[in-house]
């Protein structure tokens, strides 16, 4: 018997994996998204097409990659191609889901991974920048953000929109020229699963994790949250999920041994 107690990272991986449908494609970064994709392939979506931004297509991952371009991402892969081709493929509409993170996220799902501060030339803190985040957030059908939840991170207005969420609300993506039907989908945090209200494009809590209260979620959010009615409780990781995750996906605990910060 496997222990059905779980840590925060295990919960995140299990929850994230459930959003990955069979026959769809997902672009993943290192860490949690890879683990979620691997878990999904083993349980729900054997035909999930895993795409690494730098060019690795559908590898049989032997271990967790350290870089989205390292050897592991092309191990027994279907193809080793270019970042350029991955981006073209994305632009053609072939990437269903992407996973992103960021230093800040706002109520419309806009993400900041560029800088803290108000003067672009003199940032208080400089981050790496978009990388491929803006591209995926612009052109993938659905964006799933995985992030720790705190008032510092969940802000009314991000200091810098690195990657578009719904920008400043309904219709804004389309007006900006982004392809219709794309955009933020879910936000998975250490406290809850959040989605977006169809009409207003505001972020809303859809389920709180077991043992977490709605108040906790709200007090860790820097803006007014909508709440789905009825509010659900996130399904805890199942025994099957945990076994697969611990024994086959991440036996070295490279992901699930880390803290869900």
């Amino acid at each position: 018997m496997i222990s059905t107690e779980y840590n925060g990272m295990e919960l995140l991986v299990c929850v994230a994996s459930r959003y990955l449908e069979d026959g769809s494609s997902v672009s993943v970064g290192t860490g949690l998204p890879v683990a979620a994709a691997m878990l999904a392939q083993k349980l729900y979506a054997p035909n999930l097409l895993v795409i690494f931004e730098a060019g690795g297509i559908a590898p049989l991952l032997p271990t967790m990659p350290i870089s989205v371009g390292d050897s592991r991402t092309t191990y027994k892969a279907i193809q080793a191609t270019s970042m350029t081709e991955v981006m073209d493929t994305l632009a053609r509409g072939l990437v269903d889901i992407c996973f992103l993170g960021g230093a800040q996220i706002d109520m419309y799902g806009n993400l900041n991974s560029t800088m803290v501060g108000t003067d672009y030339r003199h940032p208080k803190v400089r981050f790496p920048g978009s990388g491929g985040a803006n591209d995926f957030g612009s052109l993938a059908w659905r964006t799933i953000v995985v992030s720790p939840q705190s008032v510092r991170r969940f802000v009314t207005k991000v200091d810098f929109i690195t990657t578009p969420g719904y920008l400043d609300g309904p219709g804004a993506r389309e007006k900006a020229g982004l392809p219709p039907g794309t955009g933020p989908y879910k936000v998975i945090t250490n406290l809850a699963v959040l989605g977006y209200d169809q009409e207003s494009k505001w972020m809303r809590v859809e389920s709180v994790h077991p043992g977490v209260t709605l108040d906790e979620v709200k007090s860790n959010t820097g803006f007014q949250l909508l709440v789905k009615d009825p509010l659900e409780t996130t399904e805890a990781p199942t025994e099957q999920e945990l076994r697969m995750l611990r024994e086959e996906v991440d036996p070295l605990k490279l992901v699930i041994g880390r803290e869900a910060k």
Binding site: S67, G69, T74, T84, M87, G131, G132
Partner: protein, 329 residues
């Protein structure tokens, strides 16, 4: 919308065509040494682009040499540049940067001094994305001055880029026009090259298929020199044809401490040592002195990092074999 950022390079293909025309199409021996290649082909003020993916298939020997020769005022194409950026930042070699992804080392974290270099104002930045930088290189490879893209629209990334909004003359859709990027010099590490510069690059190309074509000068470092028959006997192997290339240097383990797919894995321990050294200015200087300024060449650097034994371990790691050589520390 029109981006506020500066374009650091001339995107007019008519100014580049003459340069490309002047490149010799002769099959001549281009093999040289790392110091000579850097001395002769990288000038202060040049705009530089580095192949590979930051910590994967990077031309470390050439990057160290640029730092060692104290090249200054370079421009830098920062598309998922991680350890390559870290090295050049250590030499304070560049003062302007097209940013897609810089400073960080992906999941490994953000080195402190490299970050400070960017935060200090010493580096003028223009924002882009991995795709838009790739597409800018493709536009250059196609000999056109711009290409329409659908990234960056509506965002501050776009605002601080140098892109300009245009409308499709057929559909009326909004696009960002991004300017072609013709680097002065590209440094690309490959698996095999012949003496003329025909090169084979295994695994993911990242953006190098276009980078080699877009750049006015191309310096290759390779794991091994091979005969031209390697290419003439299998014409699919030629990722980079010789007529694009200006110099070839042979540097086994040349991507160390980065990963070289199908050859050796990254040395996470050494990359961690870099990260730790970046915590204080004193440690940083001592580290750079030891590993770059006071080493004569890349061979010495590899020796300092564990030499043949360590390289064998990284090969074992790459091939998922249990370590054959004892761990050194």
């Amino acid at each position: 919308m029109e981006g506020l950022g500066r374009i650091f390079t001339d995107c007019d293909p008519d100014h580049q065509r003459g340069i490309f025309r002047a490149k010799s199409k002769k099959l001549i021996d281009k093999v040289t040494t790392v110091p000579e290649a850097v001395r002769n082909l990288v000038r202060d003020g040049d705009y530089l682009a580095v192949g590979g993916f930051g910590g994967v298939r990077i031309p470390t020997a050439l990057l160290h040499e640029i730092v060692r020769q104290k090249k200054q005022h370079l421009g830098f194409a920062g598309h998922t540049s991680t350890h390559d950026c870290e090295i050049l930042a250590a030499g304070r070699c560049f003062d302007r940067c097209d940013v897609a992804y810089v400073i960080g080392l992906e999941a490994r974290g953000i080195p402190k001094m490299a970050r400070k270099y960017f935060e200090s104002g010493a580096v003028e930045c223009t924002e882009w994305t991995n795709a838009t930088l790739s597409w800018r290189l493709r536009a250059a490879a196609m000999g056109i001055s711009f290409i329409p893209v659908r990234s960056m629209l509506g965002t501050d990334t776009g605002l601080h880029s140098a892109a300009k909004e245009i409308l499709c003359p057929f559909t009326g859709q909004k696009y960002f026009a991004v300017p072609a990027l013709f680097p002065d010099v590209a440094l690309i590490h490959v698996h095999e090259s012949d003496t003329f510069g025909n090169a084979h690059l295994r695994g993911i190309q990242v953006s190098d298929q276009d980078l080699a074509r877009a750049s006015k000068k191309v310096i290759l470092s390779c794991e091994r020199l091979v005969s031209t028959d390697f290419f003439r006997n299998d014409q699919e192997r030629t990722t980079i044809p010789y007529y694009l290339v200006d110099a070839v240097v042979e540097v086994p383990f040349g991507s160390y401490p980065g990963n070289m797919p199908y050859e050796y894995y990254s040395d996470e321990r050494h990359l961690q040592q870099w990260m730790v050294a970046e915590e204080t200015p004193q440690d940083y200087q001592a580290f750079l002195d030891k590993y770059i300024f006071n080493t004569a060449d890349f061979g010495e650097y590899l020796a300092l990092c564990g030499g043949k034994k360590r390289m064998q371990q990284l090969r074992d790691l790459e091939f998922l074999r249990p370590p054959q050589a004892e761990e050194v520390e």
